[in-house]
């Protein structure tokens, strides 16, 4: 494990971050990526040129099938990075969380000084059946999918079991939905900018019993990118870098039925433990966390697996409003999360980092700014928990 605690290794700074609005885009893939990179470049205080980049890691699941091969080279070609060593990173919805980790490791190991990590997905120009196809082939196709399951189904199985094992009901998930819509309402790059009442979220259209429409994130178009540099270059680009203090990743069985428990994500637990260790921090140090709430039950599990709530207490954590902005010890999904900000699959993980970058530099428009934000965390999950990447960021090195 790469450990940043005084071993002489390079520290990694995030000096720029940008994204498109998440939602339905008139832009194509090349245009969306260019817009995200343009925004990332413009966020670098002292100027940045694409020709500075040594390596690029771009997360994407499938591009809707339009450019499965050599995806990343197509994108760098259209963002001024011709000739850069680049590759597509694919770990389902955790693709750009892993792209971020790969970028961090490239700098940490001394192989690169300036690295772009990002992600992109365009799903909303696909027919409903094509969209379900692409969304469904990241789960276990041979056994789960042939039993009728895509992710609404697998998370519904998890939710019902969670209610059975712990003191929790669907109302706890409603609290998650209402909170994230409230947070995302003020986020100008969010896909669903609308507040939702408790009663409305409680009585939504049933998608996969017990999960309703208001438990499910939207499928979004979007792109996001961050610029990471080695410590010795950080102040060349900005006076206020955000330091990547910790990184961890884990994996688990692809299918729910192979896991010892379906009410906790071992991939998250493993990734979080590594990230906390490399950062030398604990869950109590985190001021804001962007967690992977593809379904509301996923946020409940994440609050437990990341250490913000005890085992079986995630429902209560949501019920008591612990994750609301500036109300509890930690703000969960200040951006609105996947539920409201949106979920452009491969772009989600690096999009979480964009939010944390702005929050820790105290550049978020009021009233979205998390008060006195010093330490932030991102949590990006692939599928129903087969893969997970966790990163911890800080204002101080």
């Amino acid at each position: 494990m790469l450990d940043s605690s005084g071993d002489g290794m390079v520290d990694v700074a995030m000096v720029g971050a940008g994204q498109t609005k998440f939602g339905n885009h008139a832009l194509g893939l090349k245009g969306m990526w260019a817009e995200a990179m343009e925004n990332a470049i413009q966020s670098v205080d002292h100027g940045f040129q694409p020709s500075d980049v040594d390596e690029a890691f771009i997360g994407s699941i499938a591009f809707g099938g339009s450019q499965l091969g050599n995806t990343a080279a197509l994108l760098t070609e259209h963002s001024g990075m011709e000739g850069v060593s680049v590759r597509r990173v694919e770990n389902a919805c955790a693709s750009s969380g892993f792209a971020l980790r790969d970028a961090w490791m490239a700098i940490k190991s001394g192989q690169a000084d300036v690295v772009v990590a990002g992600g992109i997905e365009k799903m909303n120009d696909l027919s409903a059946s094509r969209k379900r196809y692409w969304l469904g082939v990241s789960g276990d196709t041979e056994w789960e999918r042939l039993a009728g399951l895509t992710f609404p189904g697998t998370y519904a199985l998890t939710a019902r079991r969670y209610f059975h094992e712990f003191d929790s009901t669907h109302d706890d998930l409603v609290h998650v939905s209402v909170k994230n819509h409230m947070h995302g309402y003020e986020n100008e790059v969010a896909h669903l900018r609308k507040q939702v009442s408790f009663e409305k979220a409680q009585s939504g259209f049933m998608v996969a019993d017990p999960l309703t429409l208001y438990d499910c994130c939207p499928t979004s178009d979007g792109a996001s990118a961050v610029i990471l540099v080695a410590d010795h270059l950080a102040h060349k680009f900005t006076d206020t870098p955000v330091w990547v203090k910790g990184s961890g990743a884990g994996s688990d069985h692809l299918a729910l039925h192979d896991r010892p428990s379906i009410t906790q994500l071992r991939a998250t637990q493993s990734a979080a433990a590594k990230a906390y260790t490399t950062a030398g921090l604990t869950a109590h140090d985190i001021d804001l966390a962007e967690v992977h709430d593809c379904f509301t039950i996923a946020e409940v599990l994440a609050t437990e697996d990341l250490g913000f709530a005890g085992r079986g207490m995630g429902g209560r954590f949501a019920r008591e409003g612990e994750g609301r902005r500036n109300e509890g010890e930690v703000t969960i999904n200040a951006s609105g999360g996947l539920k409201s900000k949106g979920h452009p699959l491969g772009a989600t993980g690096s999009g979480q980092a964009v939010e944390v970058f702005k929050q820790l530099r105290h550049q978020v428009e009021s009233p979205r700014q998390v008060r006195d934000a010093e330490i932030g965390l991102t949590h990006n999950v692939g599928g129903s928990g087969a893969t997970c990447a966790v990163h911890i960021f800080g204002r101080e090195r």
Binding site: T141, L146, T150, L157, L256, H257
Partner: protein, 265 residues
């Protein structure tokens, strides 16, 4: 399933009567269910193969041998028959077309019957947006998928099948069979919007499709679509048994697998 045994042989028909084998049934699923009820042996299927609605992703021999204790043999003196027009099957001691007994429906007519029949044809013949599982994988996994055959890895029962264990050693195939019934750990009912594209055509006709995650007594867990659940909701800790049914149609072929059926409490 309804069955009749007389001196001509053993006959089976679905609960829905002769003209329909139910939302996910056909002559193959009836034949497998009938053979499972009979003492094991060998059977000749030469006259049966021409009575199928659609080509199958796995051969009839593999389907029957993986899901029952019967073997297929051209030398057998038992013969599997399928009625040319009706959903009737029989096992007799003659290769001649049997005298079919009359069956009536035990269930109310399903309003979506014709739409479901049409939907299956559409799925099999149409351009699929479903997940692709190779035919080779279907065949290799048939004993597990259709017959609940499990592996043994140093005393631990493994199902669905795995390749290497944590020591890097190959886990051998096994003839151990998981026992029924299994216990429901959790379940969901998916609307058409929540169902994979393979099932999204049938889901609205069936008012959704249900899936259960179950635990077997030997330890392994699995997910299965529910069958015959029009009037019943599953319950956690409830029991299910398994039957071979149609799963989905794709690329001109019908795919079969096990579905869970709720046990009466």
């Amino acid at each position: 399933m309804q069955t009749v045994s007389n001196n001509h042989g053993n006959f089976a028909c679905s609960q829905y009567g002769e003209k329909w084998a139910g939302p996910d049934g056909d002559r193959i699923t009836l034949a497998i269910a009938l053979l499972k009820q009979l003492p094991s042996g060998s059977v000749n299927i030469n006259s049966f193969e021409s009575r199928l609605d659609f080509p199958t992703s796995v051969g009839i021999q593999e389907l029957i041998e993986a899901s029952t204790n019967w073997t297929i043999s051209e030398d057998s003196e038992s013969y599997l028959h399928g009625h040319s027009d009706s959903y009737l099957v029989a096992v007799t001691s003659s290769s001649e077309e049997p005298n079919w007994p009359a069956f009536s429906s035990n269930k109310n007519k399903n309003e979506s019957q014709q739409e479901l029949i049409d939907q299956w044809s559409k799925e099999v013949q149409g351009v699929s947006q479903g997940a692709y599982v190779s035919q080779a994988q279907h065949i290799v996994a048939s004993p597990s998928r259709l017959g609940l055959k499990a592996q043994n890895d140093h005393g631990t029962t493994v199902w669905p099948p795995r390749q290497l264990n944590s020591e890097g050693a190959r886990i051998e195939s096994s003839t151990n069979t998981l026992s029924e019934p299994a216990t429901i750990l959790t379940w969901t009912r998916l609307s058409a919007a929540g169902a994979p594209s393979e099932f999204s055509g049938r889901a609205p006709l069936l008012d959704g499709v249900s899936t259960v995650l179950v635990a077997f007594e030997e330890g392994p867990k699995g997910v299965f679509m529910l069958a015959d659940d029009e009037h019943e909701a599953p319950e956690i800790d409830g029991k299910v048994r398994f039957e071979v049914r149609r799963l989905y149609g794709q690329d001109g072929m019908m795919h079969y697998g096990l579905k869970a059926v709720l046990c009466q409490s």
